[in-house]
Symmetry: C2
Subunit: 369 residues, 2 copies
């Protein structure tokens, strides 16, 4: 993997970058849609290509449990299995082990857990995390980390940071495929000195990129932005920075200015299925009665497939009638919105007008429809 | 609407025809996918166009209740509302009133019923059926009929036939839009003489086409084919014949030879959502364990989007994981299969080899995968 900074913003830490992977290149800042179980919920890979999406995230924990590495290996790897020719980033499986699996036991060696699907017992350590992601064949793989709960006391988070550093070292040692880029994950909860410790530990291993983990776990926005901002100072400028699990459109706009290059979040896809749609003037709840006979698209400034072909009235009807098409059309719109937002941000950085873009973005978000 | 017979089969009553409507033309025999609530479940109108589908069926009962005629009228009619530029056939609403609605009261004037959605009271008579379908703006509208239950005794069915004839006359009188074609529906249950009576009554009104209603309601195949065959003799050869609600691929192949030109059925779409897929060698149940690591497409002879891009292993995984994409990909395959089957039938009639086609079709359906 190659990362290159193309343009730096003068008024903030934002930068326009480019990442090259074995499955193609993309520009940063970038938002990665989440393909939890080998599919971005409700849409096909062709839909994603048409939206202009360049890189997907897939969840190692889910794919490891179902359909299992054997199936994906026999079908020629994850790219071929899911029919996605572009870059894929896989997480380590750690986060889902902590949030979904049952009866977890953590030791220095790794995590023993029971599947949330059938209660079967499994073990994932740093070596296994690397091996599974090698079978998946993703372009960017994540080191196994321990994600402390929130809130957690200082002693717990200190131990968690130390374990994450130990596992990070082992992941570096166990990664065999030189085509795959490996990112380390900085932990440390909301404690400034632990974030510093974690960042300094990890940078010693010269990862291809650095992720900020353990955020968007219930803390308020100011706290999160403080942690991002403080931690960012201890991370190298020549590597991509990935803020995991964030977030709302306004969170992305703000985090870019703190020097974040990559994002992922289930919000656009999950909200789509709940009927909450993003527009340049804020959110729109499609089931609201005011849309019953509204012949306009969701967002008149949007160029997505949904807005080009369907009215709010029809989308509301589909949603009220629980038609499956509703989930796809809504998802196409929301992901297109996110992708376009990142495109606009990159364009603004390139043209040296990010501050103006940001002011305009927040002003429009307040406007009534 | 214009109907033209292009080619007649020498060994059966099958014929190749062409229907011209204000929204385009299509060849018969044709299968019409069912867009119950203004959407063919799980797919978009663009998907349907890509499959080569030319005409859709939409359900008046469902659309009348939700979103309601007012909404569809304000959004420019059904074609524009659902983004479908091709021909649409709407049913009269009668069948759903009998099968879904509650507390029905039938009189010579029409049917009073309660909505299955919210219990609200409604009335649909011949005049209302014509008015609603005029607002929808469909290309082919159906006369209001009374569909007798099965089994039903002779006296009941006799009354039902007489009522259907009375309503047919009133539908003809109340239809105002001369761009819309109007089809009558022959009833008469499984009684040969009542079918004859119904067919003779209806042909007096010179409908643009004739449907066979009240079939595929629980009778065995031999009975259904006897009724189709007997009734067909009393219907004009210069009008399209539509067998409502039928059916399986083998039913279509057989009914074409009895002189049927048009079909609709929820089977391909419903089966798709249940994971039962049609192939040229019979049905395939995608959840079966034998498909777990099967890298082949559903049907190696199929040219659909799903078969061109995805393996059985992936489709099984999506289905087991209840991913919404499963329903769309399966639906695309099944509808493509039906559409291709009708295409093959038309080609065989054109080339004077329908008997061979039929023998080959049934031989392959028996073969193991």
């Amino acid at each position: 993997m190659e990362f290159k900074v193309i343009q730096e913003c003068k008024s903030s830490k934002a930068r326009l970058g480019e990442i090259k992977t074995p499955h193609g290149q993309f520009e940063t800042p970038v938002f990665m849609p989440v393909g939890t179980q080998g599919a971005v919920k409700a849409v096909s890979s062709e839909d994603l290509v048409e939206m202009g999406i360049k890189i997907l995230l897939a969840n190692t924990y889910h794919l490891y449990l179902r359909p299992g590495c054997g199936t994906i290996e026999k079908c020629g790897g994850l790219h071929r299995f899911i029919n996605w020719k572009g870059p894929i980033l896989t997480d380590s499986g750690g986060f889902q082990v902590y949030s979904l699996a049952k009866l977890r036991t953590i030791s220095d060696e790794g995590v023993t857990f029971q599947s949330h699907l059938d209660g079967s017992r499994h073990f994932i350590g740093p070596k296994e995390a690397m091996e599974i992601q090698q079978v998946l064949g993703s372009d960017i793989v994540m080191a196994l980390d321990e994600c402390a709960p929130y809130p957690a006391d200082y002693e717990y988070v200190l131990k968690s940071v130390k374990l994450t550093s130990l596992w990070a070292k082992r992941c570096v040692e166990h990664k065999k495929d030189h085509h795959q880029a490996l990112f380390g994950i900085v932990q440390g909860g909301m404690y400034s000195d632990l974030r510093e410790m974690s960042a300094k530990d990890l940078t010693e291993f010269c990862f291809d990129g650095y992720a900020l983990g353990g955020l968007s776990v219930g803390e308020d926005r100011d706290t999160r932005e403080r942690v991002v901002s403080e931690t960012r100072r201890f991370l190298p400028d020549d590597k991509p920075i990935y803020l995991m699990g964030v977030g709302k459109p306004e969170d992305l706009v703000r985090a870019v200015s703190l020097g974040v290059d990559m994002f992922d979040c289930v919000l656009p896809t999950r909200n789509a299925r709940n009927g909450t749609l993003f527009t340049h003037r804020g959110q729109l709840v499609i089931k609201n009665a005011c849309h019953t006979e509204d012949d306009r698209p969701i967002d008149e400034k949007c160029g997505c497939y949904t807005c080009s072909h369907y009215s709010r009235a029809y989308l509301r009807h589909l949603f009220m009638a629980k038609e499956l098409l509703a989930y796809r059309l809504n998802t196409i719109h929301n992901l297109y919105y996110y992708n376009q937002l990142m495109d606009d941000i990159r364009c603004a950085i390139r043209e040296g007008r990010l501050a103006d873009f940001r002011n305009n973005f927040f002003r429009l978000q307040q406007e009534k429809d």
